[in-house]
Symmetry: D4
Subunit: 164 residues, 8 copies
């Protein structure tokens, strides 16, 4: 799989400043050679563009949507309102409340419209990508193998750590 | 002004269970004889109906929109994304976190799309109605008089309180 | 699909008292006729049984794991440590801090081991099931159709609400 | 409309150090050519000056009052106690608790005296100005047109963003 | 000293419903036979009455003012803005946020206008009275003796406790 | 009154690093020429020295005790346990939780042992000194005059502020 | 070991009302037949009795001290200030803030005086007892065997749970 | 006792970046010449290595285990699940929420598996070491003497502080 292939994952963020964090999701998907696309679309400032983007995504082959936003972070919820594909949310810690507001605004969704929420900030961006890979892997055994390889290497790096 | 007159204020809530709190907004507007309408529309479960309702509201003469929701409370923000009329938000305290999540999800809007947020729960419902009246009063001197009368009576009730 | 079929989803909870909330996940999966199994296994009190259960789950055909716990809620994280299958976490609001501790202990996972976290309590239980269905639906078009049907009925129920 | 025209909006702040944030409200009103005035008046240190200012404001043509303060932020509430004009509150994040104290002290007003509260800090300052414009726009169609233009440009800026 | 004597302490509360808690301040002062008066005056709903009450208090011999309020609890701060007599604040736990909002709105006063803040709820009401007694005791040795007697009895009650 | 006169106020802090904040209490008392002494004594690391210091303080003419500490801030409570003189507490914001822990550990005293708590950090240090002056002023009319002068100057400084 | 034997563990609580929670510590120690004594002693209301009790405890053979308190919970810290024996703290959830204040006031001790803190409420009471047993077990192999037996039974109870 | 002697204390941390804080635990144990070993092992990334390490620890003579982690900090709980030796937890403040998440994820353990939790960050690291020493001291009178010496020196340092 390559970036030029039709994207399987969409990474959407509410503001260009979120890229600093969300590029870690992009880089993680790149490591697994999962084709994806990254977009800045705001739930509040470009609601119609967001709706159209999500409604078209499925037809374009997008299987998982990752949405990142900060503050009154409605992006992931609005995305989830327009698709039955899995939606993963990443709270951005850019606000005065360190992302606690972003986290609650993303995770506390009402029954009926799920958003799988990851950790605040960079760890959440990386894990959203890994969870997307694990979802895609159900039908792609090579991705599952890659994930197991990734886990093994990650474990080895920890075991190789030495303290002063 | 009467309820049968074309509504000036829309009271929207994400769930019928919010009515227990939002009826206080309705009753407060009733006291000022401000025509209004109350609707259950969900930002997440009925996004298209919400969008259409808000886009049509202005043409129908709605001047202020009050939106109430709990948890990941996106209703007020999504309403505000679709109109330049004043939008007021009421955090519903129905969740496990007592409405702190509702409050942050409503008040922490990004620059560009304002929501005037009131207190969590019943006081917020009453005050959303009062703030709507005060906005309408700019062009309706009788409403301003009524507001001053309301304030005077309210003050007198406090001053008449007696302690055991 | 039927309950007697080999389970596709595992619902694991740290304590039998969590069933009061997690039965909503079970009922939601039942609505979609997704075969699943429910287990009480504690990350802290039965760590070896948990490890063995998760390691065996993949071979038994489990595609998604839902883990629910309260307080220092490590269950979902420990499950995720032992599998590359998607793991979804539900914070149980049973503690003195109303589930804020459960939420943070589940969602704030370090980079490398993702847990898709849902809302605290009953809405989270229902949404974990719905997200699991949406993950399974990638390879099962009938599930996708059912999800869309579910969404449509859910929207209609909202639109049919009447206020006093 | 020009700055030299009689002001329609008052921007009040509890301390000169709040100007760093509140100048964004001033600049936003300037963009819409809404005449306004900015004042440092403290609810606690100059209570009588505050009271006199607010009581005189209406007679001077002020239609909306924006009040910003931090910590035990009483300014907006005290302003609202003395006028039936719409009062908007901006929590200043200057304190040790990052503005959570300011937010709660402004938004949690008792029933009877409303304050429409915006986000903590700069986004709140900008949005207070935008909400003031939207309130003034009820009787000034040109302002409504300007708001729609502002929204369209804002949306376009988002859509024009490119990621690396 | 008797209740009929000119009051030395004023107990002010923002709402009659606060009496359930503030009667414990009244009863504690009664135990020390400190003359006091209790009033319902609201910082927001009766601002002028509050100002006049406080400005007159000193001339009437009031030496300490205790103010109790909930939510955006501005009462103690507004009282302190109008007097240089010691002002003690009691956060009322009547709101959805259990009094955390009340506490922050009372204690986080800006430099220049102090409010000595006590615990949320009943313990705070009792302690506000005890702190008032200890302030009055500077010039009244008999009150100091009574306080020491109170402490001794209080200690003895603890030491006499028996567990099952 | 001079610094060489027997001290009327004791400023106690749990760690020398608290001086950075508590010197503002010292400077404020200096402005009013109130004799005072400053000490580093820890409730946890020097409990016996603290007890002896407090027990001796009253005999040495100390009329008000100001105690500042951070984290599990027990200093003010332990001081209050050993004296019936007024004790004022200042939460130090030096910990990872920005002083929320310090604030709760100082203000939430049980009924029977009051601590008048001020704001977190520098404003609290200044206000503890001002509240101490206001307590001392009951028997010292010149201090009351000074306080009124202080308030008037403070108000004038605010009124003289000019914005760019 | 029996209750009549010289106690090895002291369970101290700040108020008799804490017994409702702390009896679970007592019952847990009883299960392991660890001799212990339970006392109500308040850090604030009976500071001298507390100091004397702790100073004498070591000579009487007490090896572990468990201290429980709520609100500004200083008991465990003050106990730890007077002994080098292990001190374990249990936050009592009896206050308006659900024990978050109790937790922070116990756990955030400054460097130099440790308190091993357990969960808020009943789970913390049980675990304080279990941790005390595990500390005593270093020199008492039979206690270690009992602990392992306890763990095995606890695990079996979980594994024997059946869901409806 | 020397570092080369078989270790009595294990200091485990979830990430090498935690060493910056946990070296204070190491240095504190060094001061008491307690042999110990420090390891980076992750509950999530190396679960099997962690399990094996803990299961082997007791046989190697480890008497106390100190575990430090941040965010969804499961390390201490997982360690405690595998041993009946005393386990002490140190919350690392490295996350966006300043360690409040780490603290709750460590301290709120369910009944049955205790973790003695210390303060967030460096004070907690030092105190975990001191509490470990105090546990070891039950059977090592020289350690108890050293602890008393440590306390005396610590007190003297406080008493020797001078303020400007």
């Amino acid at each position: 799989m390559q970036k030029q292939a039709p994207p399987l994952v969409a990474i959407i963020m509410g503001s260009k400043s979120d890229w600093e964090i969300m590029r870690h999701a992009d880089e993680t998907l790149d490591r697994f050679k999962v084709p994806r696309e990254c977009r800045v679309i705001s739930a509040h400032r470009t609601p119609d563009a967001l709706r159209e983007y999500v409604l078209a995504a499925e037809g374009r082959g997008i299987e998982v949507l990752i949405a990142a936003a900060g503050g009154a972070a409605h992006l992931a919820g609005v995305v989830a309102a327009h698709t039955v594909r899995p939606v993963l949310g990443v709270p951005i810690p850019s606000t005065t409340l360190q992302g606690l507001d972003s986290l609650l605004a993303i995770v506390q969704m009402p029954a009926g419209i799920p958003v799988g929420t990851l950790a605040i900030g960079k760890p959440g961006a990386i894990n959203a990508a890994l969870l997307a890979v694990s979802i895609l892997a159900a039908a792609r055994p090579d991705l599952r193998d890659q994930l197991q390889q990734f886990r093994a290497e990650q474990a080895q790096r920890i075991l190789d750590e030495t303290l002063p």
